[in-house]
């Protein structure tokens, strides 16, 4: 199935709009998915990410716009002629067919010879590590196995584009983590352009080449996981991905100050937007152990320390009452030696981690 790699197709979405009554499910969305890329649409429920996926699959007819797979305009093409694979949230495996019946279904529709069907079905099942499961009934499978069968069915006809609609949301955490890696490996192996929908930010960060953060029917930010996490475009993106605390800062005379103290920061946002300082818990440090002179220091009063096994979280109040959290690693008896509630501590934030973002929701 390696020849698929050369057959992966780019997707071009131009000015696609879809309204339901007064609600803009998709508000003039434009997006390019590169050939062979793994792109995730990430957003809260009702953000329009699923609507966009349904437009790609052909199940939702937009009000207007253009959609190209490669060079072909497909916006008016019915779903059964689009030749894209899709993994549904609830798998949508046909309960009246066996595993092999399900996986072979798209091949039978394409009038593939019987012997070839058998061979390719088995090959697809082996790809998802379910070799020999062909004769089983769908009801005999566990959630994880159903998920794999659904994937096998969506890749067996070698589509050049693969769509996945929250395929892991029904699985328990351990299996989900494992399947994330497997799906990612599968993508490396097969190389088809993949659009993946999820509301789970960790899943998006783990799996994607690029992430499109969607809200209110618009794409808030499109970038690599690191860009999205480290330099969120606005407050919504910063809030949705990872934990963060926002502090109001003032920008004047080329200086950015918080509570009267100038901040050392890396990049500076160009515009005169209202700005916020974004603090990620894992980027804060307890001072003063080896505070570099490139760090910003904050005085705070500890309010609580929570032990979480692999790490601890310390909650502390800044003088203006804002609560910040600090996540730290645990080694030895580190927790026992930590500050207790009521203690005054100094928190350090490296200049490189001092991220200023625009104070709007996009």
């Amino acid at each position: 199935m390696t020849e698929v790699l050369s057959k992966a197709l780019p997707i071009t979405v131009r000015n696609v709009t879809k309204t339901y009554g007064a609600v803009h499910a998709l508000d003039d969305v434009s997006l390019e998915v590169k050939s062979g890329e793994f792109l995730t649409l990430l957003g809260p429920s009702g953000s329009g990410k699923t609507t966009l996926l349904m437009v790609l699959a052909g199940f939702t007819r937009p009000d207007g716009g253009s959609l190209k797979f490669g060079e072909d305009e497909v916006i008016r093409k019915p779903p059964h002629l689009r030749d894209v694979g899709m993994v549904f949230q609830n798998y949508a495996l046909f309960p009246h067919m066996t595993v092999a019946g399900n996986v072979g279904y798209p091949l039978r529709l394409r009038k593939t010879p019987k012997a070839e069907i058998d061979e390719r079905v088995e090959q697809a099942l082996e790809t998802v590590q379910l070799g020999g499961y062909g004769p089983r009934r769908i009801t005999q499978l566990s959630g994880g196995q159903k998920q794999r069968v659904a994937v096998a069915r969506s890749i067996v006809f070698e589509p050049r584009i693969l769509l996945m609609d929250e395929p892991l949301s029904a699985l328990d955490k351990k299996l989900r983590d494992q399947m994330q890696i497997e799906l990612r490996d599968l993508h490396e192996k097969l190389g088809m352009t993949t659009v993946y929908v999820t509301h789970d930010q960790r899943e998006a960060l783990t799996m994607s080449d690029r992430i499109a953060v969607v809200n209110h029917g618009r794409i808030m930010q499109l970038g690599t996981p690191q860009e999205i996490y480290d330099a969120p475009a606005n407050r919504f993106v910063a809030d949705f991905i990872g934990d963060s605390t926002f502090l109001p800062v003032i920008q004047e005379n080329g200086e950015v100050t918080y509570a009267g103290t100038p901040l050392k920061h890396a990049g500076s946002p160009s515009r005169t937007d209202k700005l916020l300082l974004m603090i990620r818990p894992e980027r804060l440090q307890l001072a003063p152990t080896d505070v570099s002179d490139t760090a910003n220091l904050f005085e705070a009063t500890v309010s609580n320390v929570v032990y979480q096994g692999d790490s601890y979280v310390m909650y502390a109040h800044l003088p203006d009452g804002t609560e910040v959290s600090l996540r730290g690693g645990i080694r030895g008896n580190a927790v026992a030696e930590l500050a207790a509630p009521g203690d005054r501590v100094a928190l350090a934030l490296d200049a490189a981690d001092t991220v200023l973002i625009a104070d709007h929701d996009g």
Binding site: A57, G58, F59, P78, P79, H80, L81, R82, D83, V84, G85, M86, F88, N90, A92, L93, F94, P95, H96, Y105, P106, L109, R110, R153, S154, F157
Partner: protein, 297 residues
Amino acid sequence: MADVSLHMPHSDGLRRDGRLERLRLFGLSSPALLMVLVVLVIPVGWLFYVSFIGANGQFSLENYERMIERKSYYRIFVTTFQVSFLTTGLCILIGYPLAYFMSQLPNRWANIALITVLVPFWTSLLVRTYAWLVLLQKQGLVNQWAISLGVWDEPIKIVHNMTGTLIGMVHIMLPFLILPVYNAMKAIDHDYLKAASNLGASPRRAFWTVFFPLSAPGLLAGSLMVFVLCLGFFVTPAVLGGGKVIMVSMKIVSNIELFVNWGAASALGVVLLVLTVAILWVASRFTSLSNMTGGGH
């Protein structure tokens, strides 16, 4: 293990509790069991018993022998199956598309459609049958309209024969087919059809390869229900058949009312019962009978 369990604390007491609980549960269900005995086991047993009593009051097989010897009985069974098959077939042809249409309606409209199916279902059987008699007779509404619209030139006979019987039977049986089919169709997740479409199936292919097979248990259950009910049906063929469509149930009535021959009537009843059970048994090998009673999947 067995040794260990003997020494577990309270094991004797717990075992006694279990026995007591089973006894109590049996006691609680005894009224229902008694009911089954009184209204089912005794009457049906009595039916079997009477069917083996001859005209002289002694044990005899004459009631069954008569059925085999006389041609008229053979014809009656043939007619009964004919009417049942035709009614079931027509119900499927009319009811399946109707149920499909209903299942695709938005909920509000589906409920209205469902009520229009159910209202006749709740109306007296006799009223509906006589209504058809009025509609279908020579000077009835159907003939009048057909003539004024030029469909046919002079009144034709559409009642007091097989045609009339079938029209009435289909009308009365239709809800029994539509309801289980509609239920089965409602339970089909739209994602199955989306998946089929995504995998390359045209709407027609998706219907035949996915929707129809998934609705088939409901269709089988409904058809079975209609067929079994038809086998023992009396009022409609008696009123609309005009004496030309004699079914088993009608022969049973005449055996009792005209000839006061309880033995012959019982034997017919037994044969009908056995045939019905046999058909249900065969069908149960293909579908779960719980589909029929609305017990779900």
